[in-house]
């Protein structure tokens, strides 16, 4: 039985929980939890006999550039009672020095690699993570490439079929492209 936000507020004193709706058809409302009580809420959801959400299926980082925060989304399921998904969301500001969120690897071991991926691609530091290193990019890499404001290095010497974004980059880099593309006028 998926707990309602009132039950959670009662169970975890001081937790601020807000319901964020999904698309009307998907009907998977998410519970936005504040950073301080995230671990307490997670532990409650896992150990509470009525919900027993022992399977953390998916940890995702989402960069809301316009709204100015990065959101981490946890999808939880219960293997014992076969229900879910319960969606937990937590937000952190986009600036690199303040962008940290408590890690849930101590609650669910499965979050370890996925949180490292969110750190690698979005720059969200997970406090209390046993081994927070880059997992997908090489260790000397310094940027966080999945952020919306990331600009990849220019490598556009030979572009026979350039379009919009690539066309702009090729012109800037002076690459070889069809002569008609160089004078392409946006309709």
């Amino acid at each position: 039985m998926i707990p309602t936000s009132e039950q959670l507020c009662a169970a975890v004193p001081g937790a601020v929980i807000e319901i964020v709706p999904s698309t009307p058809a998907a009907a998977q409302p998410a519970m936005l939890v504040d950073r301080e009580h995230l671990v307490a809420v997670a532990r409650y959801l896992k150990n509470e006999p009525s919900c027993q959400l022992d399977f953390c299926s998916c940890v995702t980082g989402v960069d809301y550039l316009a709204k100015g925060f990065i959101e981490i989304v946890y999808h939880l399921y219960s293997v014992a009672l076969k229900h879910g998904p319960v969606v937990l969301k937590v937000r952190a500001p986009r600036e690199l020095n303040q962008c940290h969120v408590p890690s849930l690897t101590t609650v669910w071991r499965g979050c370890e690699f996925q949180e490292r991926e969110a750190f690698d691609l979005y720059g969200v530091k997970f406090d209390g993570h046993p081994d927070l290193r880059r997992i997908l990019m090489w260790n000397e890499f310094t940027d966080h490439p999945m952020r919306k404001d990331y600009v990849p290095p220019a490598d556009y010497e030979w572009e026979p079929t350039p379009h919009d974004e690539v066309l702009k980059r090729t012109k800037a880099a002076g690459g070889i492209m069809p002569p008609s593309a160089a004078v392409e006028v946006k309709k």
């Binding site: 030979w158 026979p160 079929t161 350039p162 379009h163 690539v166 069809p178 008609s180 593309a181």
Partner: protein, 196 residues
């Protein structure tokens, strides 16, 4: 009965049966001697796109509407519309480049093309030494006749031809109706004119 090494002997029996069987049963011998003997690829098989023309190469079905260029996921199509000297766009591509070193053979361009002008070929022997201009197929390399299309994909070509013929008739019928309506209107107005 169970003797040590029974599993090994059974496994060897399977391989032995296959080895001996390959001399007698045709389905156990699966090797296709490639250059001499080729697999008949099914009709739906697709490798790289090509442009279809009906009568002659300089009148392709393509009208350079650039829908395929926009919808192509890896963006490997580049089209320039042909314009006559006064700058009026002719419904024809001047340049139609497909960079087959980027094309992912997903045939989304075939699905979204409203004029049935780009189709998928099934010729896979395209390995080249050079990289730059050898692997960019341009308008002359892409243009292939409708008979070629009817030859490699008979069922699909028949459907496409039927659809195009039906559209042509519908358009002709509509034009004829429009002409008839215009004629009827013209016939109706003179009597009114003479009456005054």
């Amino acid at each position: 009965m169970n003797y040590p090494g029974k599993g090994l002997v059974e496994g060897l029996a399977v391989t032995a049966r296959n080895f001996v069987g390959s001399y007698f049963y045709k389905d156990r011998l699966t090797t296709v001697q490639y250059p001499e003997e080729r697999i008949q690829t099914p009709e739906n098989s697709r490798t790289f796109p090509f442009l279809v023309f009906d009568e002659s190469p300089d009148k392709p079905r393509c009208t350079a509407c650039k829908i395929c260029e926009v919808e192509c996921p890896p963006k490997c199509i580049y089209i320039v519309m042909d314009r006559d000297d006064k700058g009026k766009p002719l419904q024809r591509p001047k340049a139609f480049d497909i960079d087959i070193s980027v094309c992912m053979q997903c045939q989304i361009c075939v699905e979204v093309c409203p004029f049935e002008s780009i189709k998928m070929d099934n010729d896979y022997e395209k390995s080249k030494y050079g990289r730059f201009n050898d692997l960019v197929q341009r308008l002359p390399d892409l243009l292939k006749s409708n008979d070629y299309y009817r030859q490699i994909k008979p069922v699909k070509a028949a459907e496409v031809d039927a659809k195009l013929k039906a559209e042509a008739e519908a358009k002709a019928a509509k034009k004829a109706a429009a002409v008839a309506a215009a004629a009827a209107k013209a016939a109706a107005t003179p009597p009114a004119g003479s009456a005054t």
